[in-house]
Subunit: 158 residues, 2 copies
């Protein structure tokens, strides 16, 4: 319970209605420690209230994304994943290894120079909310291709 009241307020302020579905979804994203998929959100919502349809989840996620309250990212596991967008503190992005599937966070600071050049040279204001950059991690480059092989898809029971 209690999605950042800040967020709930900003929703109402923008003229959007505070439905129980929206509040539940926000709570779940807020309580989730990391990137969460629509399917996972749907399962958790249904534990509380089983009549919520998956399309409502997607519609709410798209709204929150449009308002830049959450990020939407493909981290390469076959599901689009969502995360609260902290407006002030520790903005971060991810490096995703194509071989082992591991995901490493990196600081927003590394993207600032690019952002600045795009603005200066092209007048383009890049949305730098939450990137995922694919490639090969250090371990995999060294041939220490540890067990974990890239998995795509199929939401299973946890």
């Amino acid at each position: 319970m209690t999605a950042h009241p800040t967020i709930v307020e900003s929703l109402r302020q923008e003229g959007y209605r505070l439905t129980p579905q929206r509040i539940m979804i926000l709570d779940i994203i807020n309580d989730s420690m990391s990137h969460i998929s629509a399917e996972e959100i749907h399962r958790k919502v249904q534990e509380q209230y089983p009549f919520v349809n998956i399309s409502t989840i997607y519609r709410t996620l798209n709204l929150l994304k449009k308002l830049r309250l959450i990020s939407e990212t493909d981290l390469g596991d076959g599901y689009v994943r969502y995360e609260l967008l902290e407006r002030e503190r520790h903005r971060h992005h991810h490096l995703v290894c194509r071989q082992c599937g591991e995901s490493f966070a990196f600081e927003d600071e590394l993207l600032k120079p690019l952002q600045i050049r795009l603005l200066k040279e092209y007048g383009f204001a890049a949305d730098v909310d939450h990137f995922a950059i694919f490639g090969l991690c250090q371990r995999c480059r060294r041939g220490e291709g540890r067990g974990g092989v890239r998995k795509e898809g199929q939401h299973g029971a946890d």
Copy 2:
């Protein structure tokens, strides 16, 4: 006819079979002046040979992508689009305006510093083949929001 013989050769050299489907698909991507979708490729293939299934298109695209012969990019119009990856010359990326939908190319050179820092500081070898960075273009930032409104989806007849 005649997809870069270089590419056809590299396919055979890697031990993949040269089926008429693969050659047709490569020809179409090669002849296409810009980013092309799976559906568009399928339509063009079917003009020549109507029995090719769309799943073959996707499977071939996934193969060519794995071999880094083509790039796969979401340019925000609701379709994943494909393009030959020139290995040597003029590698480029795109800035996509979330408001007007316009797409502007920019040189790979701008991503080099980031690429180098990721390698030095994280040991991560980023695949920098063909990025699409979303944001607001100069015109739209200035409020000159020219007509064109963001369109998502629905492949129509051209």
